[in-house]
Symmetry: C2
Subunit: 191 residues, 2 copies
């Protein structure tokens, strides 16, 4: 319900896109927030209003993917289906993220940047934390012991993240085979 006030004039997507280009050209660490703000024609403080951190400029674009993956979990059948059913749910969640990516080459650029700078890669732990919790609840809600659910969701996220990294490093158009191969290293305990 916006009724009054100055409307938004900054396009966050355009700014993130610009930042990504600057990072690719001059390097992530060599590009300061002030550089980005200057190139975008806005002030540094305004930049921080849309992106809470420098890393957010890179990771922000991955959020729809993560969100879609979480939604797929919620929509999975909620009966007790056993270990095979759980693995099917994990596969569905992993693959669901791919569908919402408008331009795979942009995501590849993001992920390559993340792979190149440890500072960005380590942020995967934070960026994927909500998804880890969601996965944990999904598994625990289907009969998996609480501790196993925690271990499996942690392993799931690490494996799928590695799959995305592997895909980004190459030139294959489709990330799905990478994701499915990554899930092959997982196992639902007690089955």
């Amino acid at each position: 319900m916006r009724s009054a006030g100055r409307p938004v004039t900054i396009d966050p997507d355009a700014v993130a896109s610009l930042a990504l280009r600057l990072f690719a050209e001059n390097g992530y660490e060599q590009t300061s927030m002030e550089d980005i703000a200057g190139a975008a024609g806005i002030g540094r403080k305004s930049l921080y209003r849309y992106f809470s951190s420098k890393a957010e400029l890179v990771w922000g674009g991955m959020e729809p993917v993560i969100e879609a993956s979480g939604l797929a979990l919620d929509e999975a059948p909620d009966g007790r289906e056993g270990a095979d059913g759980l693995m099917t749910g994990l596969r569905a969640a992993a693959v669901a993220g791919v569908a919402v990516i408008p331009d795979l080459s942009v995501s590849r650029g993001r992920l390559r940047l993340i792979a190149e700078y440890p500072e960005l890669a380590s942020r995967s732990y934070d960026s994927l934390a909500p998804q880890r919790e969601r996965m944990r609840l999904y598994l625990a809600g289907r009969g998996l012991p609480a501790d196993s659910a925690g271990y499996l969701s942690a392993a799931y996220l690490a494996a799928t993240f590695e799959a995305w990294m592997q895909w980004a490093a190459g030139t294959d158009p489709d990330p799905v085979p990478y994701l499915l191969a990554a899930l092959d290293v997982l196992r639902v305990p007690g089955s």
Copy 2:
């Protein structure tokens, strides 16, 4: 072969121990590097000579554990033993780290601090990177396809890290059962 020069007067272990105490008392972010240096009776620059970052004060103490785990991999039998043999190697590596910990309660303190501050937890990705690479080579050197080795080592580290977190959150003296339970979510693909 040190022949001349002023000998070391700073005890890094004592400084890290002091820092850990300050972090626990006043909070990690509320304790600046200058606070720590002041409490230790040294200068800020000298503090940085022994610890390359604030996080290093916390994570540094975990390095012997990680190193011991890596050594266990090198010492594992190097024949082609199949999937069961590989899992045995992983278990040996995970458990080997426990043996070198002089005082479990200190490690518990470290890990609780890491669990409390996302900034520290996300650093696990960097701190465990050498171990991830070692594990990858171990697996790839025993017949596992290169991509599977990458996925499995990523999942292994995430699961065992989560196991350490779970152990640290509780009061059980022995972390080994947590580690073994975590490895139950892993699987050697193609078997």
